[in-house]
């Protein structure tokens, strides 16, 4: 076992240790932060596999953008906190499905590696530089690359269309959903008869049908 393997095992333990509380944490924000730890650990795994460009992309896109987007999503939907509120009744089923799948898959992988289905070792890590990746993108993969760019544009427009409020055009006053925190002043005292979405405010505990 070389030092390279030791580094990989440490990073792998960090990644796995971040993944478990991501799906079991009772606090939403903690779950999103553990997700960021897991994604950064995966970037470290890419580095140990000598995929430095992919590690940087992982850091920029996932840790920089997606984790922050999830934090925004959790805070804007103000979901309740607690295992009973966050988990449904399927925990036993989930443990059985995930556990059995892990046992089967890891057994197959260990058997495949032991019998030499991936070729006999020692496995050398091949370094693929950024220039090779760039040439490959614009020589072999240019059509999927352009399709992906159109997909990103479509997703951008679709997200804007889905997320904007329909009665909130610029210049008009939109209905406001007040958060019932207990110390909030009555709506008429502060806003002077502003339109208030009281039904949604009462439903704001999130769990009421």
């Amino acid at each position: 076992m070389t030092g390279h393997d030791v580094v990989f095992i440490l990073i792998g333990l960090l990644t796995a240790g971040g993944a478990l509380p991501t799906v079991t944490s009772k606090n939403l924000v903690h779950a999103a932060l553990f997700l960021a730890v897991t994604l950064a650990g995966i970037a470290g795994v890419f580095l140990t596999l000598a995929a430095d460009f992919l590690a940087l992309v992982q850091l920029v896109v996932y840790v920089g953008a997606v984790a922050v987007l999830f934090l925004f999503g959790l805070m804007l939907t103000r979901a309740p906190i607690g295992r009973e509120a966050l988990d449904n009744q399927n925990r036993g089923l989930a443990i059985v499905v995930a556990g059995s799948l892990f046992v089967v898959l890891s057994g197959l992988i260990i058997q495949a590696v032991a019998t030499g289905a991936f070729g006999q070792g020692p496995f050398e890590i091949g370094y693929i530089g950024i220039e090779a990746i760039g040439i490959a993108i614009f020589a072999d993969w240019v059509l999927p690359f352009e399709v992906l760019s159109m997909l990103l544009l479509a997703a951008l427009i679709g997200a804007i269309v889905l997320a904007r409020r329909e009665d909130g055009d610029s210049g008009e006053e939109a209905m406001t959903t007040r958060i019932a925190l207990g110390d909030a002043p009555p709506s008429n005292a502060l806003s002077g008869g502003k339109k208030t979405d009281d039904e949604a405010a009462q439903l704001g505990t999130g769990g009421a049908r």
């Binding site: 393997d5 990989f8 095992i9 990644t15 796995a16 993944a19 478990l20 799906v23 939403l28 779950a31 994604l39 795994v45 596999l49 000598a50 995929a51 992919l54 992982q58 896109v61 996932y62 953008a65 997606v66 987007l69 999830f70 999503g73 804007l76 939907t77 979901a79 966050l86 988990d87 449904n88 089923l93 989930a94 443990i95 499905v97 556990g99 799948l101 892990f102 898959l105 890891s106 992988i109 260990i110 590696v113 496995f123 890590i125 091949g126 370094y127 693929i128 990746i133 490959a136 993108i137 072999d140 992906l148 997909l151 997703a155 951008l156 997200a159 997320a163 409020r165 999130g206 049908r209």
Partner: protein
Amino acid sequence: MSPLGPLLLATFLFCVGIYGVIARRNAVLVLISVELMLNAVNINLVAFQNLLFPNDPAVTGMMFALFIIGVAAAEVGVGLAIVFNLFRNRATVNVDDVDLMRW
């Protein structure tokens, strides 16, 4: 370096993601679990590329990983927009409560 370590780590992350998708009822946490599964697949692709096929001139494994990262970013954007719309219309993000199209 044996491919055993990265493959087992990817398997673990994938199964943790499956657990999260089944057990969580908050839609944002379900999306987070889906992200875990996509990243597990990325680890697999990069491990196979760099350990088994390092001389592939088309760099297929890393290209697939890059495309998966891009598609996953688009998926998160649209998914969170749908969740916001759901929260605005139903005042809940529980996936159990959204059974309008259930048979």
